[in-house]
């Protein structure tokens, strides 16, 4: 037996070693998901190998760094000098590009602002200032040759800047809103309180004429009210920064201008403005009148007066309510809502804007509040414009309007800034200024421009 073991000892050991390994392999295969059984062996093996790898990597990196950082430095000095020069050139280029980019951003903001609010502007570059702390004035590079004139609004995309104080042929003088002599009609966006924006001696902007019992809080946005006839309504002025008690029962409201007045570069001079917002308000007011007319108690029917009948069907205009855009009524159709005042206090307006009233109610030649002459008795159509008829018996007090002016200024009517109000009866060329017996026209918006 011993001789057999001795004779096949190597083979037996081989089989034993192989059997152990196969057994271990079988165990691993059976526990294929359990890696913990061989974890210890792997840790030992990795711990034996990885220090060598780490050492070799360290030596390799060290040798590489030593070579590249200390020995192989031929031409580095010249290259360094060249790179420094290149860096300087690139810095200059970067400064120029940054400047161009900033200017492009500013101009883009101005362009988008222009598209949004105003119809015609002239872009200008601020080229100088007054050089004095007492007068906040800047000079722009556009003047009369570019269509600029006195009292044009100067704005940026952030907010208003000032107005053109003097226009010279090639340059203009702009009075900033923080100048003492400046004044802008302003309105608080939230509370709709109106006031006058004025500059102070130290360059601050104050909102004046706000009663002390009003609620004004820091952070409130201030917009232009449009009452100064210079700045379009609704432009951003700034925000309330501080509210204090002033004298004479007025608040001392300090405004932080939206536009950075100390760093002006490009500005827009508004040469024409759109009055979308104002037109929308007129329409809104008319609709309110209609609603009021519908809610008022109706007047009992009354037969038409001979005077009214003498006027043919013109008296049909006094229907009291809106008749629709077509508005044509048959001549023989009786009045549905006769007005005791026989149209004297009523008004219907033709699409052309002229007012046609019942015969006998207003003598021919009488100017209505709209500025149109009273029509003769031959008018048989009384087309009404929706929203522009008046209620029963309620005198229409629409603002006077030129006869040649379109009836509905609901479109984007454009008005030249700085021009006098065109709807003043006194300035109407075809108006002979007769008495206004039945109307109580509102005067044109008071020019409260403090400028």
């Amino acid at each position: 037996m011993e001789s057999v073991l001795g004779r096949y000892r190597n083979l037996i050991i081989l089989v034993g070693v192989l059997f152990l390994q196969v057994l271990g392999l079988a165990v691993q295969v059976k526990r294929s998901s359990d890696a913990e059984s061989t974890r210890l062996i792997r840790i030992w093996a990795v711990s034996a190998i990885t220090p060598l790898e780490r050492g070799l990597v360290w030596v390799q990196n060290g040798a590489g760094n030593l070579w590249h950082n200390y020995f192989y430095l031929r031409g580095v000095r010249a290259e360094n000098r060249q790179l420094k020069e290149q860096i300087e050139q690139m810095r200059l280029e970067q400064v120029r590009l940054n400047e161009d980019a900033a200017q492009a951003r500013r101009l883009q903001a101005l362009l988008s602002f222009k598209e949004q609010f105003v119809s015609r502007t002239v872009a200008a570059q601020v080229i100088g200032s007054s050089g004095s702390d007492l007068s906040r004035i800047v000079y722009i590079d556009k003047g009369e040759n570019d269509g600029l004139r006195r009292d044009l609004a100067v704005v940026t995309a952030d907010g208003i800047v000032g107005k053109v104080l003097q226009a010279f042929p090639t340059v203009s003088q702009v009075l900033l809103i923080n100048d003492q002599s400046s004044g802008v009609g302003a309105i608080l966006e939230k509370s709709r309180l109106q006031g006058v924006l004025r500059g102070t001696a130290n360059g601050e902007v104050m909102l004046e004429r706000v009663m002390s019992d009003e609620e004004v809080a820091p952070g409130d946005t201030v917009l232009t009210s449009g009452g100064d006839q210079i700045f379009p309504k609704g432009l951003r002025v700034g925000t309330v920064s501080k509210v204090g008690t002033g004298k004479d029962l007025f608040l001392n409201v300090r405004i932080r201008p939206a536009a950075n007045l100390s760093k002006l570069e490009e500005v827009l001079v508004v040469t024409e403005k759109q009055e979308r917002q104002a037109a929308a308000q007129v329409t809104e007011r008319m609709r309110a009148a209609d609603i009021l007319a519908q809610r008022l108690p109706s007047v009992p029917d009354k037969p038409a007066t001979p005077e009214a009948n003498a006027g043919g069907t013109a008296g049909n205009a006094a229907t009291g309510t809106a008749l629709g855009a077509s508005g044509a009524l048959p001549p023989s159709k009786p009045l549905t809502v006769p007005n005791p005042q026989a149209g004297a206090a009523t008004k219907t307006q033709s699409p052309s804007g002229s007012t046609k009233q019942g015969a006998g109610s207003i003598p021919p030649g009488t100017v209505t509040p709209s500025g149109s002459q009273a029509a003769g008795s031959s008018h048989t159509r009384s087309a009404t414009v929706p929203g522009q008829t008046v209620s029963n018996g309620a005198p229409k007090t629409a603002p006077p309007r030129r006869a040649s002016e379109p009836a509905a200024q609901t479109g984007n009517s454009q008005k030249t800034v700085g021009s006098k109000p065109a709807d003043s009866p006194a300035t109407s060329p075809e108006t002979p200024k007769p008495a206004l017996p039945q109307s109580n026209p509102q005067p044109p918006a008071a020019d409260d421009s403090p400028n």
Binding site: R9, N10, I13, L14, V17, L18, Q21, V22, G24, L25, A26, Q28, V29, T38, I41, R42, W44, A45, V46, A48, I49, L52, E53, L56
Partner: protein, 172 residues
């Protein structure tokens, strides 16, 4: 090429110092794990196998040879991600065979070493393939062309390596 049949008394048996016995296999394992990351073609070589063959043939002791092959193979398995024992079994067989062959043959010359290394490389591959497919159910494809080419490359490297490692031989 010289492969001579010698008797046991005529064959010289060598031994190695402990640093060489431990350090050379570890270095081979390290190079096998490290160099292919930088030089992918090095993965065709199997340095631990060449070291196993060298030590087995130099010691001419089958038990020593199979144990050397088993240890080197198991460590190689431990470094790799597969089951431990695949390389161990294959290198155990190779170590036993190489040491047994070293007893019978004089494999001191380059030609003999080339053929022996090529043969044991193929044996190692066959055993590994069989165990991996048969026990571990690994998906492997056998390619004779690839195996022979890789065997020749390993044999050539082995001839060079053996001459370098001959410097560490110590006569008993």
């Amino acid at each position: 090429m010289q492969i001579t049949y010698t008797s046991g008394e005529q064959v010289e048996v060598y031994r190695f110092s402990l640093p060489v016995t431990v350090g050379v296999p570890l270095l081979a394992l390290f190079l096998q794990a490290f160099v292919p990351r930088r030089f992918p073609f090095f993965s065709y070589f199997d340095l631990p196998l060449l070291v196993t063959i060298f030590f087995a043939m130099a010691r001419r002791n089958p038990i020593s040879g199979l144990l050397t092959g088993a240890v080197i193979g198991l460590v190689q398995d431990s470094i790799g991600g597969h089951a431990i024992g695949l390389y161990g079994i294959a290198k155990t067989v190779v170590g036993f065979g190489a040491s047994s062959l070293g007893v019978k043959l004089d494999v001191e010359n380059a030609g003999a070493r080339l053929l022996v290394t090529l043969g044991f490389y193929l044996i190692h591959g066959v055993v590994y393939f069989a165990v991996a497919r048969g026990m571990v159910n690994m998906t492997l494809n056998w390619s004779w062309g690839h195996s022979i080419l890789a065997g020749l490359a390993n044999a050539l490297l082995g001839v060079v390596l053996y001459f370098l490692l001959d410097k560490f031989k110590q006569r008993t």
